[in-house]
Subunit: 124 residues, 2 copies
């Protein structure tokens, strides 16, 4: 899996790394138990600061997708080890965006179509 | 429409106000052209600081849902006056949450069901 950084994006680079790793997990390109490259290695590969990759790994750990093991590397969490609250957190984070979609006049069907388009775009 | 503040929530009070107003627009309880109460009035009604309501109104303005008119009050934007980029912004903000949903093992059907449940909960 290749991570592509857009230096001119409004999205911070550490967030770009986090999102691409999560999309990699979503597609199955990255699997539970996989070890991510060391912070040093990935930073060198991407040509970014080690601090940036470190921040992304900690963001992934906070979201429950990564276990940072100081001696043996950073391991992708398996779904059965995930915090059961993750589902509730996602529902709580989705709600304001769905409310905004309705408030700008989108119908239920249009919102569902948008979600399905995004899913296909991530999985392709 | 009644705004209910949960003082102990992890969601900041200004965000609670913003989200409830957006859900009011989504349901049609608040309509384009409606004037919101003045910052002073709403703050007094809710028993919160004027600064908190002011922050919420500016957040609503930033999202495009409110026009703050210094002399004639704060008016709800009509959908045809909305920035056409709002749709793209929402798609961009939805994508990382949908990627996370897939990454924790949710199927397309489960995500669509979750979205439909949230829509019904907002509209009820």
């Amino acid at each position: 899996m290749v991570i592509q950084i857009e230096p001119d994006s409004v999205v911070p680079i550490y967030t770009q790394i986090t999102q691409q790793i999560i999309e990699g997990i979503a597609r199955g390109d990255i699997k539970p138990g996989d070890l991510l490259p060391s912070v040093r290695t990935l930073a060198a590969d991407l040509g970014v600061n080690m601090h940036t990759v470190n921040k992304s790994y900690h963001q992934l750990e906070e979201k429950g997708f990564l276990q940072i093991l100081p001696k043996s590397g950073s391991k992708i969490t398996s779904p059965d080890e995930l915090d059961p609250l993750t589902h509730e957190r996602l529902a709580a984070e989705l709600r304001p965006l769905i409310a905004e979609s309705l408030a700008i006049g989108m119908s239920e069907e249009e919102i569902v179509n948008l979600v399905q388009t995004i899913i296909r775009d991530i999985l392709q």
